[in-house]
């Protein structure tokens, strides 16, 4: 296959136990932001926001992507859609290479991949009406007549539950939940197959969050959409996702089907993360044992030498400080990057020297 896929992606590509079609394939994705300093703005280092990440998303599923703030979730989502110029790696969406496509090809591919953004207020142009926001992609990518376009706008507004009479209003005249519906309608305008939902509910009221998530689920069922659902809300991800990926400091820590991940988390970081979810039952809540991690997340500009989590891991081994663990399938469809699950640590140490 492709060179960039080899490091961490090798294990992934080998054991394909899922019969469904892969819609999105990510191999060795790296997104570094350069740090410059001094008078001449010399390049002195990189913020490794996403560092060698590989995963697949199957057609029709929802992959939840969780992690704490600054772990590279949103950057991953944006890099997948080439909203950033990726540093390295391969991203294939619907069989087409995205990460290296030229501007024209990329623009044509935008019809298959879309994004719902976190801040529904800021992500809508304040000087455009709802109708023009939704119809703009139609102007650019289709040859519909005016009448057909209007019909499509109304169809989309119906689909996301917006009153048709709102078509000529401006974004600031709506509530947060309604604005997010506009954002979703806009993303759906071109009949995409794959939608990256970048914390679509983080800026919304809890009561509205459920509405928007239910709308996303409904639309998925009706239109057969595939989602990458980025969130830091673990219970919401448990509700919507089929599989869940956990990121830490720019790298994948664990990727597993929802039930497996929530019932038997393998990676110590996932365990700690899940132990932070409060339980609604006060009796359980008082008895619940939280794993409190010590220290802070290291700087992504200067990650630890071995495992990225070794500075805070409660189960740290000597090898963790030197050798980066490989992201591998340790149980069927359950991937983890941790030395605790290495079948043969010594052999592995040689293989991941890079």
């Amino acid at each position: 296959m492709l060179d960039a896929g080899e490091g961490a992606g090798g294990a992934l590509a080998g054991h394909d136990t899922d019969p469904r079609r892969k819609l999105v394939e990510v191999r060795g994705l790296k997104m570094y932001f350069p740090i410059t300093s001094g008078l001449l703005r010399r390049h002195v280092g990189d913020v490794k926001a996403v560092d060698n990440v590989s995963f697949d998303i199957y057609e029709g599923e929802t992959l939840g992507l969780v992690g704490e703030s600054g772990c590279g979730k949103s950057t991953t989502g944006r890099a997948l859609l080439r909203l950033y110029e990726v540093t390295d790696g391969v991203v294939k969406i619907d069989g087409q290479e995205v990460a290296r496509a030229d501007a024209r090809t990329l623009r044509r591919m935008r019809t298959t991949m879309q994004m719902v953004f976190q801040d529904p207020q800021a992500s809508l142009n304040p000087r455009m009406t709802v109708a023009s926001i939704i119809s703009e992609p139609l102007d650019e990518h289709t040859r519909l007549s005016k009448k057909e376009k209007l019909a499509r706008i109304y169809e989309l507004m119906d689909a996301v539950g917006l009153n048709r009479t709102f078509a000529n209003r401006y974004p600031h005249e709506f509530s947060g939940g309604q604005r997010q519906r506009i954002g979703i309608a806009r993303a759906l305008a071109l009949n995409p197959k794959f939608i990256v939902c970048d914390e679509p509910i983080a800026a919304l009221d809890v009561s509205i969050q459920a509405q928007v998530v239910n709308l996303l689920e409904e639309l998925q069922e009706k239109l057969g959409l595939t989602y990458l659902f980025i969130s830091h809300d673990l219970s919401m991800v448990r509700h919507i996702a089929d599989r869940v990926a956990v990121m830490y400091l720019g790298q994948m820590a664990e990727l597993a089907p929802r039930e497996a991940l929530y019932s038997t988390p393998l990676h110590p970081y996932t365990e700690a993360l899940l132990s932070a979810v409060p339980d609604p039952d006060p009796a359980v809540e008082t008895r619940r044992e939280r794993i409190i991690l010590s220290g802070d997340v290291p700087s992504p500009a200067n990650p630890p030498k071995g495992c990225n989590f070794c500075t805070r891991c409660p189960k740290v081994l000597p090898i963790c400080k030197d050798v980066e663990p490989v992201f591998r399938e340790v149980q069927p469809r359950h991937y983890v990057a941790c030395h605790l699950y290495d079948p043969d640590m010594t052999q592995d140490a040689g293989a991941t020297g890079a």
Partner: protein, 335 residues
Amino acid sequence: MLNYTIRRLVLAVPTLLFISLIIFSLLKLAPGNPLGDLPLTIPPEVREKMREALGVNKPLLVQYLLWLKEFFVVEPLHAIDVIFGTHYSAGMQRIISWQTRSPVFDIIAQRIPQTLWVVGLAYVVGVLIALPIGILSAYKQYSVFDQTGTFAAMLGLAVPPFFSGVLMILIFSVYLNWFPAIYDTNLNVVSWHSLWEQIRQMVMPVLVLAIQTTSQISRYLRSSMLDNLSQDYVRTARAKGMSESRVVLIHVLRNSMIPVITVIALGVPSVFGGAIVTEQIFLVNGIGQLLITAIYANDLPMVQTITFIFAVLIVLFNLVADLLYGVLDPRIRYD
């Protein structure tokens, strides 16, 4: 919006009355004698008669009120008479220039075309040049183009027109002999040749003035564009698959123009005000030159009237800028 406009216009009346009073008092406080230029051989009683004729022997308050009446009643009536051929203002005293003994507004009407041609055109040219520079410098921030633009804008703002104007005359008129150093107001555009002459004599004053406008507006536009380029909706537009030119010229530019257009609107009164220094250098006899000679000659009615017209224009264009804001930005409503 209409209610808001009417309210603002009504509020402008006391503001303008106050401004007129300030101008009047300041001018009266300034030293100077309207008859100072006249020969000393004129006998004192004749002098007294002349003072009476000019109206300077009346109490200050009466002088002020008379000026108000002339400005707000007689001159508008006279304008109506001229336009519609009526005779409402017949026999009424108009504002008379002490210098020329002719009505101030007649002189202003003679001078305004030169000012509008030269200063107005310079403003338009300056803005038109500023737009592409501002857009490009923001889009390619820190590029060579941006750095050069920043340097040029700083230079344009820092070098005063009395220096750049003289420098241009020296280079383009004296050494290269491309353009005439003096603006000829008597030139009538009747043929292609005279049109060419008119253009040639306008180039230098227009450029000197345009440099200032360009420097200022391009800076404003650059920073406004930079603000908007990093907004989330720009990422949305790119994610929609819009072409880069559409992202920049439609999405970003339209939002960035909101503050810039108000800056442009606020600059319009200064166009009518003419350019005192530049008009002096190139001898364009426009409003700026009229004002400065009136000040030299102690021609108080002329100075008072021109200054007050500036005040009216400034108040008016402030309102225009506010209204434009409301028209351009759907988030702002004056209800």
